[in-house]
Amino acid sequence: MSKITIPLGPQHPALKEPGNFLLVLEGEQIVGATVRLGYNHRGIEKACEDRSYIQDLYLIERVCGICSHSHTTCFCMAAEDAAKVEVPKRAQAIRVLVGELERIHSHLLWLGVAGHEIGFDTLFMYAWKDREQVMDCLEMISGNRVHYSINTIGGVRRDITPEQAAEILKRVDLLEERTKYYIKLATEEPTLIARVEGVGLLPTEEAHKRGAVGPTARGSNVPRDVRKDDPHLIYEELDFQVITSGACDVFGRLYVRVFELLESFKIIRQVLKSLPEGPIVAKVPRKIPPGEGVGHYEAPRGEDIHYVRSNGSEKPERVKVRAPSLANFSSVAYMLEGGYLADAPIVIAAIDPCFSCTDRAILVKDQSGRDLTLDWEDLRRRGIEFYRHRGLDFSRIA
């Protein structure tokens, strides 16, 4: 059979993010795959050199719309190492709390996307509905759903009140119940298992060799987790498991993520139960003396590394960011080879490459040109009205 080469992407290669996958096909089977990235290069590292550390923090937060807190925490830890600053315990605990809430939202988001990629849109809607619980927690703590801006060099910007803690615990209970349902689904539902088992194989030694990180590595039985290996913040004092799976396929990655949700709930309960007292920020000079630091953080997608070099001024000499997805793309090429074209979307999505999410309030102009803000209730009411005109009544659906 003659070979045919087709490009997947750069627009929407199975997910809403630019990347190009050049697939060599023999019939339905993929016999070769090359990955081409860089379409989203925004020059953030260069821009950081022209801005102060505090300004950089806001720029770094925008590296990713999903793991924004991961990047700022990593950057802060590198800068704090360079400045030789000790971060107060309470601030470290709050960083862990937000970090784990972020992991929950990210894993639930992935679960939904994975469901969508395999044609299981009910799962997509369930997972994203439940994800709202954790988004509400994040909004309650920080005022924001996406870029929480909780970190600052030397600590965090907002404290946690006992009322907030109680509300988070309430929602975590709810989420835990839902997660148990997803675990049942992932491990027992035959149609779901049939779609992910044996797909996108990445043997343990390949994952190791190619430097895979995060759930991609752990789903191939490589127990690599920065929270355990290089315990930062207060992770050393917390009790949690590193979840691995020997399945080495998309099922393994699914398994790791759903069980990691349970570990995150465990961590959040521990943090809130014994939130250390004290200040939430240490004083850091605006100008950081010459030095360097490597930030090392377990983001939802895996190991995140930031390198910061200071030169005595208020601006860094160099900021280097290595987001987890980059470390996993070498593995994607391997996973695609030997598989079927129809599996390419879920194989690519299974490493959970990043893309931004949007806000839920929209600002529109009414007929007279005035600004009109629509919140969730307004949108719901309008939707019900719209369908009632067409003879459908949805008003009794909660």
Partner: protein
């Protein structure tokens, strides 16, 4: 048992094997080691750290423009312990050997050094740019300190 070695023990083993080739040791804190390696010994030291000391994961490679020279930091990891090997190459001769045979995942990191700083990674197979676009003007390297956006996009600034 490689994982249980302390920072001091790792330094001792590397010093015993390579002697004064390695200089400017800094044990910044727990799990953070920095050391200077001459460019011609880099691959040998990386290989030794991988084989004998359990540094089986390459975090990333950081490149810096130091004016007269380019500086590269290879962040190797052994179960979370980060060993940053620092090497320098003069701007007039910015060559460095590839470590792809030791860490196949290093390809994007090495291409980045070529694209962003103008390093020449010897042994890196020919391939497309990363992260810059295919039609990027030759000889322009954004992370050089004297590079301005207007160098590449004169019409837009």
């Amino acid at each position: 048992m490689a994982g249980v070695r302390t920072e001091e023990e790792i330094k001792e083993i590397l010093e015993k094997r390579f002697g004064t080739i390695l200089s400017n040791w800094v044990i910044q804190r727990k799990r953070r080691i920095y050391v200077d390696v001459p460019r011609e010994n880099l691959v040998e030291v990386v290989g030794f750290a991988r084989r004998e000391l359990g540094f089986d994961h390459l975090g990333t490679i950081t490149g810096l423009d130091g004016g007269e020279y380019l500086e590269f930091l290879y962040h190797l990891s052994n179960q979370g312990l980060l060993l940053s090997l620092r090497t320098k190459a003069p701007v007039s001769d910015p060559r460095v050997q590839t470590i792809l045979h030791l860490f196949p995942g290093a390809e994007p990191y090495e291409r980045e050094l070529e694209d962003m700083l103008g390093a020449k990674v010897e042994g890196l197979p020919p391939g497309r740019h990363y992260p810059l676009p295919d039609d990027w003007p030759q000889g322009q390297h954004p992370l050089k300190k004297n590079w301005k956006v207007s160098d590449a996009y004169p019409a837009e600034v």
